[in-house]
């Protein structure tokens, strides 16, 4: 009896490569409209090209690094409270 093959597209290295390319392309394309439209700056500094892309990138990088840092102190073994 032939067993039905499991759907495992997301596990394949070539699919992951495709997803990476897609992610980069989407991120790049999203900045393109900023060349053609003028965004109203609410606070002076938030109107420049790709502001929200930069904000997203920097703030997430900082959040991850910061959580990694505090994790050094705050992470504990699972039986921490049982001892």
């Amino acid at each position: 009896m032939k067993q039905e093959k499991e759907f495992d597209w997301f596990d394949r290295p070539e699919s992951i490569k495709k997803l990476w390319v897609m992610l980069y392309v989407v991120c790049g394309l999203l900045v393109v409209p900023d060349f053609f439209t003028h965004r109203h700056a609410y606070f002076g500094f938030d109107g420049f090209l790709g502001f929200y892309a930069l904000l997203g990138f920097v703030s997430c990088a900082v959040l991850i690094l910061f959580s990694k840092l505090v994790g050094l102190v705050l992470k504990a073994k699972e039986d921490h409270y049982d001892k």
Partner: protein
């Protein structure tokens, strides 16, 4: 009569009848109750009714306006979905606890005065505890105990504040509070405990993940959102709440990034999301208050959806740690899709409900020129995608295949998730029905080209960072120390300090007083007369010109006589005289 029947009473009285139903009839019954309550709420006329005179207070059990109605709608709507989800459950206790909990949350929302609000507030705390205890594990028992202790503390703050407030104003009416004094601040602290604002938040990520599968779904909606309602009603425009809200949004993200347990990640993301709402209350304009209410509405839906998908995984696999999960997209694709819609909604992805509700709060900050608040909310929006939007689905459904092949969850669970997913997308594409029931009139268009592009930039770059930093985000089998440490470990530290401190003092006093002073006192009382007598006699004897040998002999005799109490009458009389002289001289 039907036009003003309190929906809280329907659910609470209805809960008491649950044990009379058996099998599927019981499940249908608990779905029907909140559905009828939803209808009742839609029929309520604006105004106050069900006024009862009680111990000198005029209580108002049913105060109906747009604000209480919109919370009533979402509380009952969510309850219907949650009970559909819980169709598999054969546990009357949980159903009763859930109905009383939801009913009393409606009681809070429709309470027109502080006294009846407080009453329902406390019933909520007690009823919700049973949804945690019902898991019947040792961990759940302990977490449930801590949960109720924290809520008793919060309730006491609230009560103390109310007593001061009522004494000062002479009124129990619950409206926007303008005076800032001890009373109102205590009320605020009591509410912020339930809103899970740091450092009073640890009960939430401690207890919710220990609740039952359906308990988690139900708990995620009511306690924090009744607190949000109470803040909107009582504390609009209190600037401190902008700060509290901003801290909550970032705090939730940091801890959610550290967490390994999927339901604990979702717990921390509640704190993050409620932060947006609290911030909106602090800004206090009509737009931001609308935003807070709209966001609470949408949040209840997508957060319940996220807890439902996590619950399905827990139900099927029996595991909830990211390190034990992964690769579930192969066997639970529908749960993944529904959970994914919840994840996109919480991240305010365009075309989902988060986008049409959260934008109101952020634009509220822009309109008030609150640059820092706006910046923190934008950063937090990017961070939401990181921890709840991607981290949760990625580590549970993708990441490393752990060889788990559970298969899809049961039909009622899928139906409930499909319904909630539909609402997320419907309100994302067509928010007008929601905008219509908000407390103030809305003139807002979320879908402008620039807004959509800005949001997509923010989110997609957030996604890029997630995958670029994936190595740093690798899950570890750890827990994160939070402020509950102070009453979990701190309690033991307290015990240790008390043990070493107070018992040390005990030991010291034992040595000084029992071993030292008491002995010394004993010696003094035993040898006192002897010393006194000899001290008087020796100079006397010496004066009479006695040899050293005779003196020694006399001393030994006198000592022996005093020790045995057989001293000659002369000596006794002499001692008594000396004693009297001493007493006379001293007096």
């Amino acid at each position: 009569m039907i036009s003003d029947f309190p929906p809280a009473a329907l659910l609470i009285i209805g809960a008491l009848l649950v044990p009379f139903f058996k099998g599927n009839a019981r499940n249908w019954y608990v779905i029907l109750l909140p559905a009828v309550a939803f209808y009742l709420i839609s029929q309520l006329q604006v105004g106050s009714s069900w006024q009862v005179h009680f111990f000198g207070f005029d209580l108002t059990f049913l105060r109906v306006d747009k604000l209480s109605k919109v919370f009533g709608y979402i509380f009952t709507l969510n309850a219907v979905a949650a009970f559909v989800y819980a169709f598999y459950l054969k546990d009357s206790t949980q159903h009763m606890a859930a109905l009383i909990y939801i009913g009393s949350s409606l009681g809070v929302v429709f309470a027109g005065d502080l006294v009846s609000l407080y009453f329902f507030w406390e019933v909520m705390a007690v009823a919700s505890t049973f949804l945690i205890l019902a898991r019947k594990t040792k961990k759940a028992q302990a977490a449930g105990m801590r949960y109720i202790m924290v809520h008793i503390f919060g309730g006491l703050c609230l009560l103390a504040g109310m007593v001061i407030y009522i004494t000062q104003t002479g009124s129990i009416a619950f409206n926007a509070m303008t005076d800032r004094n001890l009373g109102t601040y205590l009320i605020l602290i009591g509410i912020l405990v339930n809103a899970a604002a740091p450092p009073l938040h640890a009960w939430l990520p401690d207890a919710y993940p220990e609740a039952t599968v359906t308990g988690g779904v139900i708990l995620s909606a009511y306690t924090t959102k009744t607190a949000v309602y109470t803040l909107v009603r009582g504390f609009p425009g209190w600037e401190i709440l902008i700060v509290v809200g901003c801290i909550m949004t970032i705090y939730g993200i940091i801890y959610a990034l550290l967490e390994n347990d999927m339901r604990r990640i979702l717990g921390y993301s509640i704190i993050n999301q409620v932060g947006f709402m609290v911030c909106g209350v602090g800004i206090g304009t009509m737009m931001s208050l609308n935003g807070t209410v709209a966001h609470a509405f949408c949040h209840i839906i997508y957060k319940a959806l996220l807890w439902m998908s996590a619950g399905s995984v827990l139900y099927m696999v029996g595991k909830s740690k990211c390190t034990d999960l992964g690769g579930l997209y192969k066997t639970m694709p529908l749960t993944l899709i529904f959970g994914g819609i919840g994840a996109l909604s919480i991240s305010s992805f365009p075309a989902t409900s988060g986008f049409t509700s959260k934008s109101l709060i952020i634009d509220g900050a822009v309109h008030e020129h609150l640059m820092w608040a706006w910046l923190v909310l934008e950063i937090a929006s990017a961070g939401v995608f990181l921890h709840a939007g991607i981290k949760f689905p990625y580590f549970v459904f993708f990441a490393k295949d752990k060889g788990l092949r559970p298969g899809e969850t049961n039909k009622p669970m899928l139906i409930a998730m499909a319904f909630m997913s539909f609402l997320c997308i419907f309100l994302g594409l067509y928010p007008q029905p929601l905008y219509n029931v908000l407390p103030y009139e809305v003139h807002y268009q979320a879908y402008t080209f620039n807004h959509v592009i800005a949001q997509l930039q923010l989110l997609m770059l957030s996604a890029l960072v997630f995958f670029l930093f994936l190595k740093l985000l690798k899950r570890t089998e750890t827990i994160s120390i939070d402020t509950d440490w102070f009453y979990r470990k701190g309690g033991r530290l307290f015990y240790y300090i008390m043990d070493k401190g107070l018992n040390g003092i005990n030991r010291l006093s034992d040595r000084v007083f029992v071993g030292g002073l008491a002995g010394a006192l004993g010696r003094v009382s035993r040898r006192g007369p002897e010393i006194l007598a000899l001290g008087t006699l020796i100079p006397l004897w010496s004066v009479t010109g006695i040899t050293a040998e005779k003196l020694r002999d006399k001393k030994a005799k006198a000592r022996a006589a005093l020790a045995t109490g057989s001293s000659p009458a002369g000596i006794t009389a002499a001692l008594a005289t000396i004693f009297l002289v001493v007493v006379f001289l001293l007096s």
